[in-house]
């Protein structure tokens, strides 16, 4: 392929130097490329009027350096309480506030926030927040010298983007299954798990720069990032892209006296989804031109609209679908007999890493396999030139297979997200009321006999109905998203538009149907 070469540098000026800032006389930066910039971002730029920060009061709050501290602080207190109560409190999981709040309430809340807002949790996360306080050596001030080695994540790992995070999520989930932490089991296990996350976050924050942990390693990052695409927070985006292109200092990325450089490696000037915006507001604070806004967007914009579809997100979605499928499937009798059969031969009991990983990878591979077959049948072999002749890195590589697989993976994000949400519902509906006796337990008032301990908000059949409804809603959202993605991404590369549309919608339907059937079979098992 060919693209235009960067324009040559502006001519030297013979004007006498400006005594007040003499250096720019000698600076002859090449002009940045800006051709096609408006079209490139047209679909992903949030509506101009949806800038919440345009309101002076919001602007004041966002400019305040203590904002994130006060978002993190309550969660910080709760999680240290969880750790402490897990170690010292009652061993009855349902009566231990630590386990109750973590598994009955928090996990559900995170999913709600994810679907509604995006990375809202990341802005208030006590794990990264705690480590970041130490890394920055401050609770809220802008400091110049950070603690730790400030390394970059090695390129061979970083090139796979979110996949490292998926890996750590799979590992954590396996550990959680192994010790039955989320059951919830022994509260001490929950404490140790939380402590483990805090410790590993701290280690990563002290070894690597910025929020390398959050961006690449955090077990929830891939899930929140990809499912958060459904959310209505576009995050911090540029108000006028030309101002960003003209900016020679990029304070939002490098940091200035008012704010740190983006900890998430995101530039508001080119952000086209909310995938990597941690909503920390540092760019908003540091922009010298007041050119960053905090934008809302119509739901699913970040699923449907991005021009740059990332392979790491696609594979993450496929693997996350595999994981949630496993978590449903393992509550069925079929799985039990299969696992028992496997245990006989391998001597490993539940959770057997072989069938755990095997099923997850198989499910992801199934999606990819269908996509591969569909791409052979539907995607033109002679893809439009710009997509093929560039050897790009893993994330941006192009091929016939990817031309089909990546967009449809984005399309199933809503239904996969709905599946994760539905998975949490039984615990919430059955046990959320236990939070009251678990608080009472501090004062000796809570007991397993108390009525609230045994109060269920919904019966099992009702829970199943809600779960199936959630999946139906997710499937519908996915279908809408996929319809639009097909029109935008797949139609130009296919000679069979109708077949392409039918195939991609069928994949969405298959995922939704599988999940629904499994929920019926699970009988509202936690």
């Amino acid at each position: 392929m060919t693209i235009t070469a960067p324009p040559d540098r502006p001519p030297r000026s013979d004007a006498p130097p400006d005594p007040f800032d003499p250096v720019p006389v000698a600076v002859h930066l090449r002009p940045p490329r800006r051709d096609g910039v408006a079209e490139r971002f047209a679909a992903t730029d949030p509506p101009r009027g949806w800038d919440v920060a345009a309101h002076p009061r919001v602007a004041r709050v966002l400019h305040n350096r203590k904002l994130q501290f006060f978002l993190i602080l309550p969660n910080q207190l709760v999680f240290w309480l969880v750790i402490m109560l897990g170690l010292l409190g009652t061993v009855v999981p349902g009566l231990n506030f630590g386990t109750a709040i973590t598994w009955y309430i928090w996990f559900c809340l995170v999913f709600v926030m994810m679907v509604v807002v995006g990375r809202a949790w990341c802005a208030m996360c006590p794990f990264g927040g705690f480590a970041e306080w130490i890394q920055r050596r401050t609770f809220w001030q802008r400091t110049q010298k950070t603690l730790g080695l400030g390394r970059k994540l090695p390129e061979p790992i970083a090139r796979y983007g979110l996949l490292l995070s998926v890996g750590s999520f799979l590992l954590l989930t396996w550990i959680e299954e192994f010790f039955n932490i989320a059951g919830p089991g022994n509260p001490m296990d929950t404490s140790l798990m939380v402590l483990g996350i805090v410790t590993s976050a701290l280690i990563f924050f002290l070894v690597f720069e910025r929020r390398t942990f959050c961006r690449y390693v955090c077990p929830l990052s891939a899930l929140i990032g990809s499912v958060g695409a459904v959310g209505t927070a576009a995050g911090f985006r540029t108000r006028d892209r030309q101002v960003c292109l003209d900016c020679k200092t990029k304070d939002c990325m490098r940091g200035s006296e008012e704010g740190f450089g983006c900890p998430w490696y995101t530039w508001p000037g080119s952000a086209d989804s909310n995938l990597t915006c941690g909503l920390c507001s540092e760019c908003y604070k540091s922009c010298p031109s007041d050119n960053v806004g905090f934008y809302l967007q119509p739901p699913m914009t970040s699923v449907v609209a991005p021009n740059r579809r990332r392979a790491d997100v696609a594979w993450s979605v496929a693997l996350l679908w595999g994981l949630v499928f496993f978590q449903q499937f393992n509550a069925t009798n079929v799985y039990n007999s299969f696992d028992g059969w496997l245990a006989k031969y391998t001597g490993i009991h539940y959770p057997n890493p072989i069938d755990y990983l095997g099923i997850i990878v198989a499910m992801a591979a199934l999606v990819a396999g269908i996509a591969w077959v569909a791409s052979r049948a539907l995607v033109r072999p002679d893809l439009p030139q710009p997509l093929l002749s560039v050897k790009r890195s893993f994330i941006d590589k192009t091929s016939r297979f990817r031309a089909f697989f990546v967009p449809i993976s984005y399309g199933i994000i809503p239904v996969v997200g709905a599946d994760y949400f539905a998975r949490q519902l039984p615990k919430f509906f059955k046990h959320a009321a236990r939070i009251v006796p678990s608080v009472g337990a501090w004062f000796g008032a809570g007991s397993t006999h108390s009525s609230l301990y045994n109060t269920r908000m919904l019966s099992n059949p009702s829970i199943v109905v809600v779960q199936v409804a959630v999946i139906a809603l997710g499937t519908l959202a996915s279908a809408v998203a996929t319809w639009r993605i097909t029109t935008r991404d797949l139609a130009p590369v296919s000679d069979h538009p109708v077949a392409t549309r039918v195939t991609s919608l069928a994949i969405v339907a298959a995922v939704g149907l599988t999940a629904s059937i499994l929920y019926v079979l699970m009988h509202a098992a936690s």
Partner: protein
């Protein structure tokens, strides 16, 4: 626009002896900071993915991209294709006796100059220009050399420096321009910028200094009588005290700007340190004399042998419109050692002046005469092993003496140029680090022996400790203390008691942050000193030189920052001159061209304070002032250097009654103010319930920095809504402008 093939973005595609550039797609945000700065255009934005792709085939490995990528998304591997630097000859003088031969030589031929010029990458964002204290357009003059146009090259240099021939010889380029060269920052050998500058300065004719026509001023308003003195001549008249590099910088810029310049020099020769401080073998007399020949030709009134005392400094502002004090740091430091008061214990100034004269006239220095008439060479002990000490020792060697330099610092931390050290050693100077003189013994009141003890210094910047090891005794005929200088107390008083620091903390100016000079830790070539931090410190001092330290009195050079370098002093002198030309101050009795300049610094949270400040600004404009309203946090030295008067407007922070005071940003800003040199200041605050002690606190802070508060007003909610105090802006404007007008005479 040409069309190129999109490169393959794979590091491994490049051959092993060629650099490769690789962009991490996941982290690249497509901000193009790298591609707009790449000297060779090896980086291009791929607008499909909105990430940058690298073309290893055109990459030269300078790593500007790595240094400037805000997200560390660019990786360059492999060698830098810096090419081979033309050899620069350091002549080893075999017959030292009486020699004044320059030991360092420039580029010998056009061919070499062209070859060296071709090594310059002509970086779009040249870090070398930031590294140069004078901000010479280095790529600009080197490109002119490459075009074969020496006159243009010289003209480009002369835009920012008056001493290219001197600086090319005496600058320590390794920690300045060459230390900040892209090649150097990439760990390779930098372009020989100093040698190229010397090639231009030595081979292109020195152009005459063109002076601007006297500025068109308000003289047509008619004569202003004051004490019988007529102010008909409206040309800016400036006195410069001192004719060293700082004085040269100031005088050259002032005379070029059309001012009438009078220079007072206490010595019989003009040039200060250039004449007596730097030996001929580094800076030949002919070169050192050249600047003053040009300046005198341009009409500078040079008064030699004219000492200006501290009392004179108070009077000069009444005879001149502005005074530039460039008197240097002239008080030598002495080692408090027993026997330090013996005869034959000199300071470096005395020795260098005497040695300079002796070498120039081909005579022997009396103090270095063979002590016992036996023909044995005299032995000189130089205390210190810095650059001045090397000059002393090498001069002593040329006068037939043996020289020992001792310095109590560890060699690794000593601030001496390695090349200078090598040359000194090559000339037979015995340099001993981690050694100090603990006692000087005399015979008949004249120094005869020195006891030298070992020392230990574990870290840079830590005072070395004297060890109780064996003490060596050396027979000595002369001791020269060359441990540095300090600013005389009367000048230090002008600085407000403290020197302007050349190393500063805090956040760099955002215009500098994007440059690659900060992003890299120190390359070995800069001798483990971070060139970015050094350059930034120098720039801070240069900026500070724009501010008057006392009414219409500017201090520049070593007198401002303590002992520093020739080029820094010159740049500061130039900067002060530019500020004076911009301000056009006039002494009492002379009409000043242009309106009064008022800077309104505003810290507003909800817009109430800003509205108040705007009302005041409106009143000031109505009264004929030239007004700039600037957010308080953006007001720095440059803005203050522009202003005749200052308004500080702030909101009041606090919990109704507790901790009520100026907004925190305002307090912080007031604390960090530079000297205001009697500038009239008006204070304004807006409050909700009570202003508390806001105004007194602000007043105290302003007065601590030498400002004069002429008006202070607090505006509450009621005055805001009911329009009470409606004439307050006019009253404040009147008070402020009245004071400025009185000040200006």
């Amino acid at each position: 626009m040409s069309v190129i093939d999109l490169p393959t973005d794979r590091a491994s595609d490049a051959p092993p002896d060629h650099p490769s550039v690789h962009v991490l797609g996941d982290r690249c945000a497509g901000c193009q900071e790298c591609s707009i700065r790449c000297p060779t255009g090896a980086l291009t934005l791929d607008s499909t993915t909105w990430t940058v792709v690298g073309d290893s085939s055109t990459c030269v490995g300078c790593r500007q991209c790595e240094r400037t990528c805000p997200f560390s998304a660019v990786v360059v591997e492999g060698p830098a294709l810096a090419g081979v630097r033309v050899p620069l000859v350091h002549e080893h003088v075999t017959d030292l006796a009486g020699s004044r031969t320059e030991t360092r030589h420039g580029i010998a031929s056009w061919a070499d100059a062209l070859a060296e010029a071709a090594r310059c990458l002509d970086c779009p964002d040249p870090t070398c220009v930031r590294g140069c204290p004078a901000h010479n357009d280095i790529p600009g003059f080197i490109r002119a050399i490459a075009d074969g146009d020496l006159d243009t090259a010289h003209a480009v240099l002369r835009r920012t420096t008056f001493l290219p021939d001197v600086c090319a010889r005496v600058c320590d380029q390794a920690v300045q321009c060459e230390g900040s060269c892209s090649w150097s920052l990439a760990g390779d050998v930098p372009v020989a910028i100093g040698a190229l500058e010397r090639f231009v300065a030595d081979n292109a004719p020195v152009p005459p200094l063109v002076t601007a026509a006297p500025p068109d001023t308000a003289a047509s308003d008619g004569p202003v009588e004051n004490g019988g003195r007529s102010a008909r001549t409206d040309r800016l008249e400036v006195a410069v005290v001192g004719s060293g590099p700082a004085g040269i910088g100031a005088a050259s810029a002032l005379v070029a700007g059309g001012a009438k310049v009078t220079v007072f020099e206490r010595d019989a020769d003009a040039g200060g340190l250039l004449r007596w401080g730097i030996p001929d073998f580094t800076l030949p007399d002919a070169v050192a004399r050249r600047p003053w020949e040009t300046l005198v030709d341009a009409g500078v009134d040079l008064r030699l042998g004219h000492e200006v005392s501290a009392a004179d400094l108070d009077l000069l502002p009444f005879d001149f419109d502005a005074v530039v004090v460039a008197a240097g740091a002239s008080v030598p430091l002495r080692l408090p050692v027993p026997g330090g008061d013996l005869d034959g214990v000199w300071d470096a100034t005395r020795f260098l002046t005497a040695a300079h004269a002796a070498l120039a006239h081909g005579t022997q220095l009396e103090a270095l005469r063979s002590p016992d008439g036996s023909g044995r060479a005299a032995r000189v002990l130089v205390l210190g092993a810095g650059n001045t000490a090397m000059d002393v020792a090498r001069s002593a060697r040329r006068l037939g003496a043996e020289a020992i330099c001792v310095d109590w610092m560890d060699r690794a931390f000593a601030p001496v140029r390695p090349d200078e050290l090598d040359e000194a050693a090559g000339e037979g100077v015995d340099v001993r680090f981690s050694t100090t003189a603990v006692r000087l013994e005399g015979e008949d009141g004249h120094v005869a022996r020195a006891q030298l003890a070992p020392t230990r210094q574990l870290k840079a910047g830590v005072t070395p400790e004297v060890l109780s090891g064996p003490v060596a005794v050396e027979e000595i005929d002369l001791v020269v203390m060359a441990m540095g200088y300090r600013v005389p107390p009367e000048l230090l008083e002008l600085d407000g008691g403290t020197l302007v620091p050349r190393r500063i903390g805090g956040f760099p100016d955002r215009r500098w942050l994007g440059s690659g000079i900060f992003a890299n830790p120190a390359p070995p070539f800069a001798r483990n000193q971070p060139v970015g931090a050094l350059a930034r410190g120098r720039e801070h001092a240069r900026t500070q030189a724009a501010l008057a330290r006392k009414e219409r009195t500017w201090v520049v050079g070593d007198a401002l920052v303590g002992p520093a370098t020739v080029v820094e002093a010159m740049a500061q002198g130039k900067r002060a001159a530019e500020a004076i030309l911009d301000r056009q101050p006039r002494r009492p009795g002379r009409a000043r061209p242009g309106g009064e300049r008022v800077l309104v610094a505003v810290e507003s949270q909800t817009g109430t304070t800003a509205a108040r400040a705007d009302a005041l600004a409106g009143a000031l404009v109505g009264a004929g002032a030239d007004v700039r309203v600037v957010p308080l946090t953006s007001v720095g030295t440059t803005e203050l250097a522009w202003a005749d008067a200052l308004v500080v407007a702030t909101w009041v922070e606090g919990l109704v009654v507790a901790k009520v005071g100026p907004a925190r940003a305002t307090s912080k800003w007031l604390d960090g103010l530079p000297p205001l040199a009697g500038m009239p200041v008006a204070l304004l605050c807006t409050y909700g319930v009570s202003p508390g002690r806001t105004l007194p606190l602000m007043r105290a802070s302003v007065e601590r920095h030498g400002g004069r508060v002429v008006a202070a007003e607090a505006f509450g909610r009621r005055s805001r809504s009911a329009g009470a105090g409606g004439n307050a802006p006019e009253a404040m404007a009147g008070a402020l402008l009245g004071t400025v007008a009185v000040r200006a005479g």
